[in-house]
Symmetry: C3
Subunit: 293 residues, 3 copies
C-alpha cells in the first residue's frame, strides 16, 4: 500500500495550502483546493470550479501531477458547495501529453506499482465523479490526456488542426489497458475503438467530432466559455437523480477494474519489465530528446 | 402475487367483451381483443391489427391501461392469425405521457409493488413479442411512452416539432430503472444514452432521427400508413426465423430483468418511499394542476 | 473429432503442393501456401500475401474450400515472414455466396457436425488472426461470405450496385448463429444488427458504407490496390502491440464460442435436422436450379 501511504503523505503536505473551511464557494476559497500543479479557480457561477493542469511544458502525468489532481478532485467532491468542474490546461497548446514516460522507463517495479495505482485512482475518481465534469480541451490531447477527457461527462475541443486526440499508445509499442479500452468503447463504440486502438489513431478536430470522441468543436477562444455553458445545462438537472443515472451507466465499467485492480497492476508491471518494452520506450525517449536539442 | 391475481381478475372481467373465437382475422373479430382503453382494429392486410391507446387525455400508463394493454397483447399473441401490430394512440397530439404519477405518488408500498409489476410485465411482453411491433408515434412521447416505442421493432414518428421523445425521468428527480436504460442503450448506443439519461433529453423529430431513437420521421398524416408499409416489409420474412433472430438479439437484455425482478421491485418501492422523492413528485403534480387551472 | 481427423488428412494430402520451406517471402515461395481452391499470391510488398478464393462459379463455402482456406491461413500465420493478407475472390462478380447449401441439405448429422466445426474453425482463425486481414470485396457478398469479410480488420467494397452484402440467412428460414450475430454487432452496433438480422438485409455499397458494414467503397478496379494501401497503413504499427490490442478488442467475443463450441454444434445440427428447415432449404435449392436451367 505504498500509494495509499504516499497519498496520505501528500495530503498532509498539501494541507497547509488549504484556506479556511467555509470560505465562499466560487470565491477566493476555491483556490484552497488547488496545488502547485493543479490550479483551482472559481467559476463564474455558484458551485462551479475551473481546474487547470499546470505542469509545464506539456502536462505529463507525473506521479506528482496525478497525486495533486486526485487530491484536488477529492476535496472538490467532498465540499458540498461544488457541483461541477471545467477541466482544462494552463499549458499553451497542450491539454496533457499523457502518461509520463520518465515514470515508466528505467525505474524499478515498486515505482511502477505506485505509479499505476495513481493512474487507476485518477480514472476511478473521474469516471464516477458525483460532480459534473466538462473537459475544455485547449490543446493536443493524446493517450493518457485523452483518457482524462474521455472520463469527463462532455468534451469540448478547440478547433485547431494541431489539436488531435486519441489513444495512440500502440505506436510506442505499448498497449492501453482494458479500462482505457472500455472507456473508449463506451464513447465511440466497438468498431471505431477497434480501429482507433490498433492503429493508434489521433483524430483531428473534424474527425474527432465525426467519430464522437469529442462532443463539440468550437473556435479556440471559446473553448472555456462553451464548456461553462454546457456545464450550466448539466447542472440544471437535479443532482441526485443525475448522479444515480451516471452511476447506472458507468458502474459496470468501473467494477471491471475494481474487481481486478491488483491483477491489472501486475499485468502493467510485468509488461513494463520486459526488455523489449523498455527498449522501445528508451528509443522513443531518445528521439524526443534529440528533437528538443 | 397481488398482480397475478389482479390480472386474472381483469381477464375475467374483460372476457365478456370477447367475441366468438374463430372470427375472421382482420375482420370484426379483431375488436374482441380490445377493451375500453385499448382499441384493437383490423388492419388492411391479413394478420395485422392496429392497437390504439385510448385513455384520454394523455394516455397516462395507469394500472388499468397497463393491464388492458398487457391482456390485449397476450390475446393477440395467442391468436395465431395475427402476425403483426401497429401500436399507436387514439389521443390527439400525444402517444403516451408515460407512467401515471397518480399511481406512484401518495400511495402505499403494496400499490407500488402491484404497479411496478405491471410495468415490468408490459415491457417483457413487448420486448420479446413474437409479433412484429411497429410504433406509429403520432404525438408527444416522453418517459414510459418512449419505453413502449423503444420496445417495438421499428419506430415511425410524426414530423411535428412538438412531438418530442426521450427518457426524461431524471428531470422529475426520479431515475429510469436499468432495463429502461438497457432498452435505450440497445437502440442508440452507450454514449448517446449516457447523455440522454443524465440530461433527461427530449428529442425533436429531427434530433430523434439523428440519434436513432426513432427510425423514420414522416408527415403527420402518413404515420399510420407508413407504419403499415413497414410492417408489411417485416412480415415478408418467415416468422419462425425472424422470431428466433429477435430472441437472439434481445433475450440477454430481458434475462437481466427476469433474474432480478423482485430486487427491481424492491428498489423501485424503496426509492419511491423516500420523502425527498415523494416531495419532488408532489411538487411536480401541483405544477401540472396549476397549469390546467 | 471427425473434423480434426479430416483436417489432418487434408493437411497430408495438401502437403505435396508445398514448396521448399524457406523460399523467399513475397516471392514464388508464397504460392506454396496455396491450394486448388485458395490461391496465395505474393503481394507487392514484403510480408504481404494476396489470398484469392477460387471455387467457381460462386465460391460456395464447401467443406473443401473451408478446409483449404483454414490450412492456408494456418500456414501463413505460422510463417513469420508474413504479416498481412488481402483476402479477395478470383470469381468474377462474387466474393463468396456463403455456406454451401449442398453441405447442409439432405446429408446426415455426422456430416453437419463436421461441416459446422469447419465453419467455426474458419471464424476463430480469422477473427483473432495475428495477421492483418484486409477484405477486398470484389463481388456479391451475402451470408457466410459477409461473415468472412466481417472477421477481417478492414473491408473495402467495390462500388457496383449489384455487390450487396449482409447476413441474410433469415430469408432462407434459417438463422445466423450467435457468433455471426456478435461479429455483426461488434461492427455495426446492436440496433443496426437487430434490423439487419431480422430482415435479412443485403446492403448496397452506399448503404453498406452508411451502416458501417464496410469501411470504404471504391471504384471496382481499385479494390485490390486500395486494400493493399490500407494494409500498408496497418502494417506500419508495431506487430506485437497491434496484436495485443486486437486480442483485447475481440477475445471476449471469441471466448463466448470457445466455451460452448459443442453446444453450438448441437444446436446447429438439431436445427438442420428439422423437417421444416430441410424443406425450406430444399425449396430454395430447387428454385436455384430452375434459375440456372
Amino acid at each position: 500500500m505504498a500509494l495509499a501511504a504516499g497519498l496520505r503523505l501528500a495530503r498532509v503536505l498539501l494541507r497547509p495550502n488549504a484556506g479556511p473551511r467555509g470560505a465562499a464557494p466560487g470565491g477566493l476559497g476555491a483556490r484552497c483546493f488547488g496545488s502547485p500543479r493543479v490550479l483551482v479557480e472559481p467559476g463564474p457561477a455558484a458551485g462551479v470550479a475551473v481546474v487547470k493542469l499546470k505542469s509545464p511544458p506539456v502536462n505529463c502525468l507525473s506521479l506528482e501531477l496525478l497525486t495533486e489532481l486526485i487530491i484536488s478532485l477529492e476535496k472538490l467532491e467532498n465540499d458540498k458547495t461544488f457541483r461541477g468542474i471545467v477541466l482544462t490546461s494552463d499549458c499553451p497548446g497542450i491539454f496533457s501529453a499523457g502518461l509520463d514516460l520518465m515514470e515508466i522507463c528505467g525505474r524499478n517495479p515498486a515505482h511502477y506499482v505506485e505509479y499505476w495505482k495513481a493512474v487507476q485512482e485518477l480514472w476511478l475518481r473521474l469516471y464516477l465523479s458525483k460532480l459534473v465534469l466538462i473537459a475544455a480541451i485547449n490543446g493536443v490531447c493524446p493517450a493518457g490526456g485523452c483518457l482524462i477527457a474521455l472520463s469527463c461527462d462532455y468534451r469540448v475541443l478547440a478547433d485547431n488542426p494541431k489539436y488531435c486526440t486519441g489513444l495512440n499508445e500502440v505506436l510506442l509499442g505499448i498497449i492501453a489497458p482494458f479500462w482505457f479500452k472500455d472507456t473508449l468503447v463506451n464513447t465511440i463504440g466497438q468498431r471505431a475503438a477497434e480501429r482507433a486502438l490498433q492503429l493508434g489513431l489521433l483524430f483531428s478536430p473534424a474527425e474527432a467530432l465525426q467519430v464522437g470522441i469529442v462532443d463539440q468543436v468550437v473556435p479556440e477562444d471559446q473553448v472555456q466559455s462553451t464548456a461553462l455553458s454546457v456545464l450550466a445545462q448539466w447542472m440544471a438537472v437535479p443532482d441526485h437523480a443525475r448522479q444515480l443515472s451516471k452511476n447506472m451507466m458507468r458502474k459496470a465499467t468501473v467494477d471491471r477494474l475494481v474487481k481486478q485492480r491488483d491483477a491489472d497492476i501486475q499485468n502493467f508491471v510485468s509488461f513494463l519489465s520486459r526488455d523489449s518494452v523498455q527498449k522501445s520506450l528508451q528509443a522513443y525517449l531518445e528521439k524526443l530528446k534529440e528533437k528538443k536539442a
